[in-house]
């Protein structure tokens, strides 16, 4: 691992600026052409994916000079992966991975952000990425859910830090539990024993802390004999499905996002959304469920010397093609009375909610700015509500709605399904 392995990739960046925008033939209007919140907000080319690649390329050649500006560039990035998708429409090169590794390198060399240090301190102490309020399993009181550490279950519902500890998000966990119960799924939770998946720590650049969490989780999962993990958090999904696989910790664990699971249940006839909800909604693709939720590809090979940038064996790039896009949409379409209108930036080129990469902690203004852009886009569709599939998205979008006094409502996909059952 390490940044050096991506030297060839970052050297390939030709500064075409495609990384700033959604894939060009998808541009449907002037208002919603950009895909990178960082360049959109901070304007200097350095903040774009390509700008970062250029900086990494130079640093690998000449050494890194960690000025305040460089760190500002590094930490004002939601690590949302949009630049990589746009780049990889045309180019065969890694972009998101070197950006990840740059963050990791900064942390490893002690060039950290104080707010993120605080978050990681909490993680080390309490096993969570958010301020602790009560116990992790408090949301499940009175629901009579199986304790997966003690009972045999087919599915582990991994709740996630934000949903567990933020009282406003408890509704998501409860709705998920309600849905799984309704479908008679043999599922359980780790309750108070649940610990952070580590995904957000990875995004922030804390590879060591992430690995620690990952190993802890996999140990618990193995011990409990769990074969399938379902999560309603996109960051959790990305962690279990992609990152644990990347670091060869996942084994043959099946990881599903709750939207995939519910979609499957509906199609198998085990769930029937019956109640008409009568609303016009739009759907926001969480970055780590969508483009970054694409399964990891393990690759061992070498560049073939010669005229083309090709590898032996051929290297398949993760271009966002295999993320989770349709299940949430199929769910929405299956709910009577709900009309889905798409925003302009969707699926693999969706605009980020603003929460990722540690930004909501290190630069809440930037996170809110990003979310506000998304609210504007959602409102432009004429929808009355924006539906998403991640508590971090829901929280960030809600905050922006409140700040802007918008009448738009936010729902998680599980809330809608629970309402319709």
């Amino acid at each position: 691992m390490g940044l050096e392995q991506y030297q060839g990739d970052v050297n390939m960046c030709c500064r075409c600026s495609a990384c700033k925008f959604i894939p060009l033939q998808q541009v449907k209007s002037y208002d919603f052409s950009y895909v990178c919140p960082s360049i959109s907000r901070f304007q200097f080319h350095s903040y774009s994916g390509g700008g970062r690649a250029n900086i990494i390329s130079a640093g690998l050649k000449n050494g890194f000079n960690y000025t305040d500006k460089l760190l500002d560039i590094v930490y004002n990035c939601q690590m949302c992966g949009a630049c990589g998708v746009s780049c990889n429409y045309a180019m065969d090169m890694e972009l998101q991975e070197p950006i990840n590794e740059m963050r990791i390198k900064c942390v490893a060399e002690g060039k950290t952000h104080p707010e993120l240090e605080r978050v990681i301190k909490t993680l080390k102490k309490t096993g969570t990425m958010v301020p602790v309020q009560g116990k992790r399993g408090d949301w499940a009181k009175g629901l009579d859910l199986k304790d997966a550490t003690k009972e045999k279950v087919d599915v582990l519902f991994h709740v996630g830090c934000l949903t567990s500890y933020n009282k406003d998000m408890h509704k998501l966990a409860k709705a998920t539990a309600q849905i799984l119960k309704k479908a008679k799924v043999n599922f359980g939770i780790f309750g108070d024993m649940e610990t952070c998946c580590g995904g957000r720590a990875y995004q922030m650049g804390y590879e060591k802390e992430f690995l620690k969490q990952a190993k802890m989780n996999m140990a618990m999962i193995k011990k409990a004999g769990i074969k399938t993990v379902v999560t309603a958090c996109a960051d959790g999904y990305h962690a279990f499905k992609v990152l644990y696989d990347k670091y060869e910790l996942k084994g043959d664990l099946t990881v599903l996002h709750i939207s995939e699971y519910i979609d499957m249940l509906i199609k198998e006839g085990k769930l029937k959304p019956k109640k008409a909800l009568d609303m016009v909604v739009t759907y926001h693709d969480p970055c780590r469920l969508g483009r970054l939720g694409e399964p990891w590809r393990h690759y061992k090979g070498k560049k073939i010397p010669g005229d083309r940038f090709v590898f032996d064996p051929p290297k398949e790039y993760r271009r966002g093609t295999k993320g989770v896009y349709e299940p949430p949409r199929d769910i929405i379409k299956s709910i009577p009375g709900v009309k889905l209108i798409e925003m302009e930036r969707i699926r693999e080129y969706a605009w980020c909610c603003g929460a990722g990469g540690g930004v909501i902690e290190s630069n809440p203004d930037f996170a809110e700015w990003t979310a506000t852009e998304r609210i504007f886009e959602a409102t432009a569709t004429g929808a009355e509500a924006i539906v998403t599939a991640c508590p971090w998205c829901e929280m960030t979008l809600s905050q922006a709605i409140e700040e802007n006094e918008s009448s738009l409502k936010v729902y998680d996909i599980v809330e809608l399904v629970a309402k319709a059952l």
Binding site: C14, R15, C16, V27, Q43, N65, A90, D307, F309
Partner: protein, 490 residues
């Protein structure tokens, strides 16, 4: 020479602290140049103020929009035009749009499509400034080079504003020429460097009728986007011919009969690049198309304004191709591929796939001139590529060149690439040698003269000493020498 605190402060006074940076951390992302400062102006008045500061302290400056390529002198003040990205107006009745420098083609085109309009998409790609002087796949029906500009708002190297044509007299954008002789004579580009010194802060560009849908119904996920269906009254085909002469005959007849919206003289390597979603596929598809093709060819898109119009154009197209013994490449006729090519060649122009993806770099000799003449030269330049291909220095494209018709074949563009790995020193040297030799041959054999980069004195002498006039013009408007020429513009 870093800029002094006082100068930085003065520039900060104009744009605000947030929009100026001299931190070395950002320089690698600015072409790896050692710049004095990067400044992001928001509007014309700020541009003026920055330039006046430069004049005061005799600092050199350059203004750039997306800045795909460029080379810049040390310590210059670099105006990154990113914040000047507004579409000022789309005037449907009078067929023009007014834009700032950082409006990219994809953005403007999306808005124009809604009104049944479009414009020239430069070969550099729709990720670049819509204001760019350039030529592209659609030149056949949407002209190219500096002929799509109407009025221009120009901040001179002294920081004064000159508004060309009707803009200066009546505050209208529709005409950039007059009163009297046209200032457009010297305003022949968009955002410097390397071209007109100063900054174009707004420009009006010509729009053309768009017979296609207000937006494409795009299916699929990146990197493979297809169209749900080929738009009504549109068709795309690739025709190959037994010889360059036959291809040229067909090309010129199609132009004279005003049949094509796009006539893109792709070689099959470029077609492959457009379709392929990775380098391996690119190579595979190229080999397949290379076997299938009859000879040199071109790609066309026809678009009818009505059923009648489409039927007529299709009939004439097929007849002309038949007479020139051309054949449609069957493997490119399937609707999915047709849709991919239509979307690519009208909305993207795929330049990244065609150029950088393969090896990481490319060297190009482009010339906009009399097409039959430049084709003659290009045949030789293509043959000269073959030893480089054999030696593995450059990507195998069969030694092909390409080009396209402009203004229904009145003029044309011919271009030839070598795609290579820039980290491969031998390849780089071989390509440089080829480029020098072919450029020189073009001149020695009187085809044309390349005037990018360093131009030798003997070339200047045989080209009416054009440089002398240009130097005099730049001096007249840049007495303090604050606007250096440099690098190609994209």
């Amino acid at each position: 020479m870093a800029l002094s605190k006082d100068i930085i402060r003065e520039l900060e006074d104009v744009v605000g602290e947030e929009f100026i940076c001299c931190d070395p951390a950002i320089m690698p992302s600015y072409h790896g140049s050692d710049l004095g400062a990067v400044v992001l102006p928001e509007n014309t008045a700020q541009v003026q103020a920055i330039i006046k500061t430069c004049n005061k302290y005799k600092l050199q400056f350059s203004a750039v929009s997306t800045g795909w390529t460029g080379s810049f002198k040390k310590d210059i003040v670099y105006l990154d035009m990113r914040r000047m990205n507004r579409i000022i107006e789309i005037n449907e009745k009078n067929m023009y749009a007014v834009i700032e420098p950082y409006v990219i083609t994809a953005e403007l085109q999306a808005e124009c499509f809604k009104k049944g309009l479009h414009f020239n998409v430069k070969g550099a790609g729709s990720n670049c400034s819509a204001m760019l002087r350039g030529h592209g796949h659609l030149d056949q029906s949407t002209s190219g080079d500096d002929r799509n500009h109407l009025a221009i708002e120009w901040v001179t190297p002294e920081g004064e504003i000159v508004r060309s044509g009707a803009l200066g007299s009546t505050d209208e954008w529709f005409c950039g020429d007059g009163p009297g002789p046209s200032i457009r004579a010297i305003l022949t580009s968009a955002v410097p460097p390397g071209v007109t010194p100063g900054v174009f802060t707004k420009a009006a560009i010509k729009l053309y009728h768009w017979a296609g849908p207000p937006k494409y119904d795009i299916q699929g996920l990146s990197p493979k986007y297809t169209l749900a269906e080929v738009p009504k009254n549109m068709m795309a085909r690739y025709y190959s011919f037994p010889s360059v002469e036959k291809m040229w005959q067909a090309e010129i007849r199609l132009g004279e009969n005003e049949i094509c919206m796009e006539l893109m003289g792709f070689n099959v390597s470029m077609v492959a690049a457009n379709i392929a979603t990775c380098n391996e596929d690119d190579e595979r598809i190229f080999k397949q198309l290379d076997k299938e093709k009859k000879g040199p060819g071109f790609f066309v898109i026809i678009a009818g304004n009505s059923d009648n119009d489409f039927a007529f154009k299709k009939k004439v197209l097929e007849q002309i191709v038949k007479e020139a013994e051309g054949e449609s490449m069957k493997s490119l006729e399937d609707p999915e591929t047709e849709g991919i090519l239509i979307a690519q060649c009208t909305r993207v122009t795929a330049s990244i796939r065609e150029t950088f993806r393969a090896g990481g770099a490319f060297s190009s000799i482009p010339i906009m001139s009399q097409r039959d003449l430049t084709i003659k030269w290009a045949i030789g330049a293509g043959e000269a590529k073959l030893p480089l291909i054999k030696a593995g220095h450059i990507v195998d494209d069969g030694g092909a060149f390409f080009g396209w018709g402009v203004e229904q074949g009145h003029v044309g563009k011919t271009e030839i690439f070598c795609k290579f790995d820039p980290a491969n020193e031998k390849a780089k040297a071989a390509v440089e040698k080829w480029s020098k030799e072919q450029g020189r041959r073009a001149f020695d054999e009187s085809y044309f003269a390349l005037m990018m980069g360093e131009v030798s004195d003997d070339i200047k002498a045989k080209m009416c000493h054009y440089d002398k006039w240009w130097i005099a013009l730049t001096r007249a408007f840049d007495p303090n020498d604050v606007a250096p020429q440099g690098g190609p513009l994209v």
